[in-house]
């Protein structure tokens, strides 16, 4: 029964959001934008959602602005749940509660605008490292309109237009970065198992890219490479107390439906 209630609530939220984003009309029929959204490819769908989200939700826009203005586009958010005032003060976004923050972060992560990982530099001092995985430029700052590149999107926001370029490294950059980060994590012992999500967090941070970009490149590298050998291995998933970290740390599955829990890497002779 509880599950049914939850499903009902989720449907209601989704309906509200779809209306706010202009994808459906009040009578629950598809808008023109909604039809375009459904008929296009995944990349274009992502661009439509990014545009709509920024144009609709001011806190979402504020959140990205804060990140953009930080050095290296990075925030270290102390995890002090229940203390919204601190978070509001820290982020400088009025009315930002922890639940808003987590929601915005989840959505921005899925839209490949930001990425994050949890870190505990000192005992009882947990923080989330949140960083941009795209570059955001405003047209008036750039001074001229260069037009949108295939991996970017222009978003008109009143007085200014944001040009968002999604970071995607080359395969060569990726393979060098994953090898270096792998060696650092394994203390320079090749073929030592390392949790998939641990390596993904590190590489994504190094290259400022989204998890899905890592997954695509990693699976590609696993299917064969001249310089490196990357293999996945099964095992027990890493235990994590908070569900956000747990969901974030879920690795992709193999064709046989098994999670790639560990990665091992070596150079080819």
């Amino acid at each position: 029964m509880k599950t049914l209630e939850e499903a009902g609530r989720l449907t209601a939220f989704t309906r509200t959001m779809a209306k706010q984003l202009g994808l459906i009309r009040g009578d629950l029929t598809l808008s023109y934008e909604g039809e375009v959204y459904l008929s296009t490819d995944a990349k274009s769908r992502n661009r439509i959602l990014v545009t709509r989200m920024l144009q609709t939700y001011t806190r979402f826009q504020e959140f990205l602005k804060v990140l953009r203005n930080r050095e290296a586009g990075e925030l270290h958010v102390p995890v002090e749940k229940g203390q919204s005032v601190t978070l509001e003060k820290y982020m400088g976004i009025p009315g930002l509660s922890w639940i808003y923050f987590e929601t915005i972060l989840d959505l921005a992560t899925q839209l490949k605008l930001v990425n994050w990982y949890a870190e505990t530099p000192k005992p009882r001092n947990k923080l989330w490292v949140v960083y941009l995985v795209c570059s955001i430029a405003t047209k008036n700052i750039r001074g001229s309109d260069n037009g949108s590149r295939p991996d970017s999107v222009d978003v008109s926001l009143g007085n200014e237009t944001w040009n968002i370029s999604f970071n995607t490294p080359t395969r060569e950059q990726f393979s060098q970065a994953i090898w270096q980060d792998y060696l650092e994590l394994t203390k320079y012992v090749a073929r030592k198992p390392i949790f998939y999500s641990t390596l993904r967090n590190k590489v994504c941070h190094s290259l400022r890219m989204a998890d899905s970009v890592f997954d695509t490149y990693a699976l590609n590298l696993m299917s064969g490479d001249d310089k490196f050998r990357l293999v996945g291995a099964g095992g027990t998933l890493q235990f994590s107390r908070d569900s956000a970290s747990m969901l974030k740390s879920l690795p992709p599955k193999t064709d046989r439906g098994e999670y790639i829990v560990y990665l091992k890497m070596d150079k080819r002779n």
């Binding site: 012992v189 073929r191 291995a233 099964g234 095992g235 193999t254 560990y262 091992k264």
Partner: protein, 411 residues
């Protein structure tokens, strides 16, 4: 009972459950059927490390946590490395609750079972007799006794060979003598060792597990036994701890420090006398890498010097064919035109592809497919047949995208 005679096979050559049991008489599961062709690199690596007498060799699976053939590889190495009377290779199948103390006892139990302790005792007695000449203890009489009892007897009829009426007194002297020759052999252990072998050699281990004295634990006793064997002419030992990961995994994070400290003491006790080979999977490797595991991994790091990685079957190559051939060959009743008859080569490759190159799962699937062929009298069993009867042969519905990938990869 399914009949395989029509396929020129005594029975289904592939195991239904492909887990290794070196003690089993069944060659399908005891590791006797082994395809060296597919693990050439791994065998060279492990042999080289064993020859160098690296203190600990970790045999780890490169992909998958189970079923890549780690146990089969070490069981294969276990047989040829034994050298009668000089090098021993006790093989232990670790269980989930085994601790380092248990490993020590299990190794001694293997030595008792293999007659290693009895042989060492015989040589020690001969040496003692030659250094302490006595009409009641002559070398000729001892040699006759050892020739008569090449395996440890249940009860040793000592008086039939030697003029010894008080074995306890001789045991004490032997214990003191051993301690004098090698101070690392505890005198009390030496005395116990001699007494059991002079009276009830076959039941040595029954007494050994109960044997204890203050300040000495099972690892200390294991160390003493190692030195007794050294005195008794044994030069080196390769201790195979198969399924070591099963013992590591249930250890709590708080208990891992104690476990690793115990392992470290075993390694220190074995220094220059024994190499320990263990199997590891990624979970257990990660567990040993915790700070608490430092005692073990600091003296035997899981690095290239100590680790041998076992890969999976090459899906694009002929590894699976070579593996299947080695099983078929063992069970043929007469020559077949095709070495994998009745299974077409691409069926075997397809099975390997579906199972991601995992040896265990490939063998098990081969068992199921061959059984289906025998029950339905299908021969040869081709890819066309598999495509039309995918659920019956492979156990799952046909996935066209997977099949396409297989066909592309095998071109």
């Amino acid at each position: 009972m399914t009949d395989y005679q029509g396929f020129y096979l005594r029975e289904n050559p592939f195991p239904e459950v492909a887990t290794l049991d070196p003690g089993s008489p069944d060659p399908k599961v005891n590791g006797e059927i082994f395809c060296e062709e597919i693990v050439g690199d791994e065998m060279r690596d492990i042999t080289e490390k064993m020859n160098r007498r690296v203190n600990v060799i970790y045999v780890a699976g490169l992909e998958f946590d189970k079923g890549v053939g780690k146990s089969a590889l070490i069981a294969h190495q276990w047989r040829p490395f034994a050298k009668d009377g000089i090098i021993t290779t006790p093989y232990i199948r670790c269980k989930s609750r085994n601790k380092p103390d248990d490993f020590c006892d299990l190794v001694v139990r293997e030595w008792a079972k293999q007659g290693t302790l009895w042989k060492a005792f015989g040589r020690l007695l001969e040496r003692y007799a030659s250094e302490n000449p006595s009409p009641s203890l002559t070398s000729e009489a001892i040699q006759l006794m050892l020739k008569t009892f090449q395996r440890p007897p249940e009860t040793l009829p000592l008086s039939r060979f030697l003029h010894i009426t008080k074995p306890l007194s001789l045991s004490r002297s032997l214990g003191e003598w051993m301690n004098l020759k090698e101070p690392r052999v505890d005198g009390k252990l030496g005395e116990f060792f001699s007494e059991r072998n002079l009276t009830h050699p076959e039941a040595f281990f029954d007494g050994y597990v109960k044997f204890k004295f203050p300040g000495v634990d099972r690892i200390d006793l294991y160390k003493s036994i190692l030195h007794v064997l050294r005195l008794g002419g044994y030069q080196y030992h390769y201790l195979f701890l198969d399924q070591f990961e099963d013992s590591v995994m249930p250890v709590s994070p708080a208990g891992i420090a104690g476990f690793c400290l115990g392992m470290r003491r075993i390694i220190e006790a074995s220094q220059g006398l024994a190499t320990i080979l263990v199997t590891l999977h990624p979970d257990s490797e990660t567990k040993l890498d915790l700070p608490a595991g430092g005692d073990l991994v600091k003296i035997a790091p899981v690095d290239d010097i100590h680790r041998v990685d076992v890969g999976v079957l090459e899906q694009a190559g002929d590894d699976a064919i070579a593996l299947a051939k080695s099983y078929f060959g063992r069970y043929r009743t007469q020559h077949a035109a095709e070495p994998t008859y009745p299974l077409a080569a691409d069926v075997i490759r397809y099975i390997c592809f579906l199972e991601g190159g995992n040896v265990r799962r490939t063998l098990q699937k081969l068992h199921a497919v061959l059984r289906h062929a025998a029950e339905q009298n299908v021969h040869p069993l081709t890819m066309e047949y598999v495509k039309s009867n995918h659920r019956e042969t492979m156990g799952t519905e046909l996935q066209p995208d997977l099949l396409q990938r297989f066909e592309t990869s095998s071109k």
